[in-house]
Amino acid sequence: MLQIGDKAPDFTLAASPDKMVTLSDLRGKNVILAFYPADWSPVCSDQMALYNETLRFFERHNAVLLGISVDGKWCHKAFAKDRNLHFDLLADFEPKGAVSRQYGVYKDGVSQRALFVMDDQGVIQWSYLSPIGENPGADGILQALETMTKTA
């Protein structure tokens, strides 16, 4: 798993059938990458549903959130629509898990539940690997963003 101080590997992935996202295009913003195993986990304890509610706190720190799993773009589209998500879910689908592997968080056919916070220059400032069945919440991300804001 990549560590603090590492340059975040660049990538371009589909966020929907008609939208591609390139990490380096987001320079100037802090970026939160949330790798997760699969779409369609139970509603109330769902990590992505939680982040959907916490986007406004991330935005205060000039941060954008991207979810990443090995699900395909059509699956993401249906999931995002069903859950009313207001952020992009990226499809690490072909070749399967290639980006997750680059970040060192690919295991047993899926992305692990891992968080990375990058600064506006694309350098990793915080990371966290959660037990796969455990929703890591948003407190770690917020603390990381606050620390970055203070030291910037």
């Binding site: 109330c44 304890s45 939680l50 509610e53 706190f57 859950r83 009313n84 998500l85 929703n135 917020l142």
Partner: protein
């Protein structure tokens, strides 16, 4: 850890001087919270040493009525009926709608005009959002989440009573 700890802004029930402090972060439209409501009620009946606090954690993007239900409880609180509204909302969770809030207010014999005015009050929105933010900072990752004496309870809420007794 619970951040901030229980303050005078919180809604408290059970034993105000209770030695065991339990805080729930909940959403009135979340079905698991609806189930946990019964667990909490049974616990408060079974144990006399619990100081129980409810904080709002509305998942407003997932649950259409979660925010308004939280505001209804806060509006009722202005007429000293927070817990009565809290209970009524969970008991009528299946019937949540815009029409339900004034209906419940009527049943609780609240001043209806005042209640509806308070439901539009931005100060109450801020209070609900402050609860939500405190939940995020405390590590709440879904609803319901319970804290026992300031520490997050990671077990199944159906085992809350056993965990508290232990």
């Amino acid at each position: 850890m619970l951040t901030p700890p229980i303050t005078s802004r919180d809604h408290v029930t059970g034993n105000q001087q209770g030695s065991t402090e339990i805080v729930e972060y909940g959403d009135f439209q979340c079905p698991y919270c609806g189930e946990a409501f019964g667990v909490v009620r049974d616990m408060l009946q079974a144990l006399s040493n619990i100081k129980f606090v409810f904080r709002h954690f509305p998942l407003a993007e997932s649950h259409e009525y979660a925010m308004d239900a939280a505001l209804a409880a806060e509006a009722a609180a202005r007429q000293q009926q927070f817990w009565q509204m809290h209970d009524a909302l969970y008991l009528h969770q299946q019937q949540l709608s815009d029409a339900l809030f004034p209906e419940l207010a009527k049943q609780l014999q609240l001043n209806l005009e005042q209640f509806q005015e308070d439901m539009q009050d931005n100060l109450l929105v801020s209070k609900v959002e402050a609860d939500f933010e405190s939940g995020i900072r405390s590590g709440v990752n879904g609803t319901p989440t319970f804290f026992i004496n300031g520490k997050r309870f990671n077990g199944d809420y159906r085992n809350l009573l056993a965990a508290v007794r232990h």
